[in-house]
């Protein structure tokens, strides 16, 4: 394989990973912007999507019905999570919310481990196993599904948020929660909607990536965290998150190809920590100058 086709190959795998992180990052920001909950179960929903589809599929359902059932289950679990675990908190603080979602994530992970075991699972690709050749690099048709998912999610969400009254109300409540509820927007229903939407999107992502990356009970945390990195670096906006996720994916693909595959998981988290530090430094120096 020539150097050029190697570069194309790593770029392709990087962009694939980036699109996955982009959708997951959008799930994080959907919940965070409306409810101010940093939902650490997002990654577990990615895992749940894949595992549930595998579970239904191996129980004898066809691919499409098991896919739909898995998404329905993900939505249901997300709604139950909001109603049972997050709504009843009496003294909501950032710490309480975070601990509850971290705890819920470990519960979901543990239950999946108990029910389906620790083996990695996979489902067959949606459109067969043909391989597409591009400048000497190869990719499967499933990769196109991942790109398609990102396009559908971003275009669909921006149409929903900008063109429908419901979406506009959602944006309004992300900007000012109190003001929005004074305008007659039912915040409590939106919280539920956001959790359900994020859960279903994460679940769909999990289903689409399962034929490529395989799934297992333990994939949730790291995948979810990389989405969080994208959301934080992108400033919780959809465009920013997508751009950050694609860049992050590219960095990871190149790091995995040319440096070390084992350390590519560290890269995303390092990027997040460095970004956060640099951001505070900028703020601190500006504040310091103002104070003087």
């Amino acid at each position: 394989m020539s150097f050029f086709s190697q570069v194309v190959q790593y770029t392709l795998s990087g962009l694939t990973a980036g699109s996955i992180y982009a959708v997951i990052g959008i799930c994080w920001s959907l919940v965070y912007l409306i409810t101010k909950v940093l939902n650490f179960t997002t990654g577990e929903f990615v895992m749940l999507g894949g595992m549930l589809t595998w579970g239904f599929h191996s129980a004898g359902f066809g691919l499409l019905p098991s896919l739909l059932l898995a998404v329905a289950c993900a939505i249901l679990i997300a709604i139950i999570l909001e109603r049972v675990a997050i709504r009843p908190v009496r003294y909501p603080s950032e710490m309480t919310y975070m601990m509850i979602t971290v705890a819920a994530a470990s519960v979901i992970k543990g239950v999946v481990l108990l029910v389906w075991g620790s083996e990695t699972r996979t489902i067959e690709p949606f459109f067969g196993t043909e391989v597409i050749h591009l400048f000497g690099a190869t990719m499967t048709s499933q990769v196109l599904c991942v790109f398609g998912l990102l396009v559908i999610v971003t275009v669909g969400l921006s149409l929903f948020l900008n063109r429908t009254l419901f979406g506009k109300a959602l944006r309004a409540s992300s900007i000012n929660l109190t003001g929005a509820s004074l305008m007659g927007i039912n915040i409590s229903r939106f919280r539920l909607l956001c959790f359900g939407l994020a859960g279903s999107l994460a679940g769909i992502t999990g289903i689409v990536i399962t034929p490529i990356t395989f799934t297992g009970y333990s994939i949730g945390m790291l995948t979810g965290l990389k989405g969080l990195v994208a959301a934080i670096v992108g400033g919780w906006t959809m465009t920013g998150t997508t751009a950050a996720a694609l860049i992050l994916g590219l960095l990871e693909g190149i790091c995995a190809g040319f440096v070390s595959a084992g350390l590519k998981d560290v890269l995303a988290l390092l990027v997040m920590i460095l970004f956060l530090i640099v951001r505070t430094m900028k703020f601190a120096s500006r504040l310091g100058r103002d104070a003087r």
Partner: protein, 329 residues
């Protein structure tokens, strides 16, 4: 501090109780109590950070693990005896936490939590990947037992006294610290940083001090832990331990210092009960399966009893006059 005689009396009872347990109990109880001392000590530090100082740092298992790896690694290669290795480990962790804490502690709330959580995962992965230095996924094997000179700690009973001495020393030290001027300053900035700094508290510096102090304590406990287990693995210091520590802090109630220790006691015995009675029903037992129960417990406690056990006890003792356990919203 009012009611000093009562505090002294409680301390004497606690120390006497701890001292007396190995005289009557079997080796099983002693080994569980050993772990309670270690994780309790860790949880006390983490509770101090999370609830009293308001520093939302999730990297506590990392300091524990780094201490364990440094002292264990030095002892395996024969570079430093265990007691010296533990001190070197604590100093090393102190330096690392200074270098990392200085920029990170400028962050607040969620961002600090995310950054420290990232740090936790980074260290866990790096420990597994740097095979030549740390033994990779299998971890360090063949760590010698703790020894000072010719005196070698071999039995569980020795480690029981060592770990409880360390745990109670940490607790006593933190009690005195939190009663001092510095401790009051720490409590003040957890309520409002602006108010505290307007009263002349150097908030960033104090935060860094508390952070480094608890990190070094965690590292010392980690050293004792690794000499007790005689091996270390990167998986021990990862996400499951974090969930466990958070459970201890929340069940016990982090607004008091003794709360997390109480939480450790409850959590560890609960785990033993789960393993004993549900071990046959569950197809497998691992840290992740335990995490189901702990996760559910965290959710239930945070919803129904936000002050934890210590908050409940406080309300009982002070008759509702001074409810300390309740977190401010």
């Amino acid at each position: 501090m009012s009611g000093t005689w009562r505090t002294k009396f409680l301390w004497i009872i606690l120390v006497g109780f701890i001292f007396a347990i190995p005289l009557v109990a079997g080796s099983y109880v002693i080994s569980v109590m050993c772990f309670i001392a270690m994780f309790g000590g860790l949880a006390v530090g983490m509770g101090l950070l999370l609830e009293q100082a308001g520093i939302f740092s999730l990297a506590h298992p990392t300091w524990f693990g780094l201490g364990a790896y440094v002292s264990g690694g030095l002892a395996v290669r024969g570079i430093a005896p265990p007691w010296l290795g533990s001190i070197i480990g604590a100093v090393f962790v102190g330096l690392v936490s200074y270098v990392i804490g200085a920029p990170l502690l400028r962050l607040k709330g969620y961002y600090l939590a995310c950054a420290t959580f990232g740090l936790l995962i980074i260290v866990e992965i790096s420990l597994a990947q740097l095979g030549s230095l740390t033994g990779g996924h299998e971890g360090l094997m063949g760590i010698p037992p703790f020894s000072v000179g010719n005196f070698v700690l071999e039995t569980d009973r020795h480690y029981y006294y060592l770990s409880w001495a360390l745990c109670l020393a940490c607790l006593w030290f933190l009690y005195n610290l939190m009663g001092s001027r510095m401790g009051r300053a720490v409590k003040s900035f957890s309520d409002s940083e602006v108010a505290a700094s307007s009263m002349g508290v150097n908030v960033p510096r104090l935060k860094l001090k508390v952070f480094i102090l608890t990190a070094m304590m965690a590292s010392l406990i980690g050293s004792v832990y690794t000499f007790y287990l005689r091996f270390t693995q990167p998986g021990i210091f990862g996400f499951p331990l974090l969930v466990e520590l958070v459970t201890m802090v929340i069940i016990g109630g982090g607004k008091t210092l003794y709360g997390p220790l109480l939480g450790a006691f409850v959590v560890m015995w609960l785990r033993e009960l789960i393993h004993m009675y549900l071990g046959g029903l569950l197809p497998r037992t691992s840290a992740e399966v335990d995490a189901i129960f702990f996760g559910l417990l965290i959710i239930v406690i945070l919803i129904f009893m936000p002050g934890g056990l210590a908050g409940w006890i406080d309300r009982f003792v002070y008759g509702g006059r001074r409810v300390r356990g309740r977190p401010q919203s």
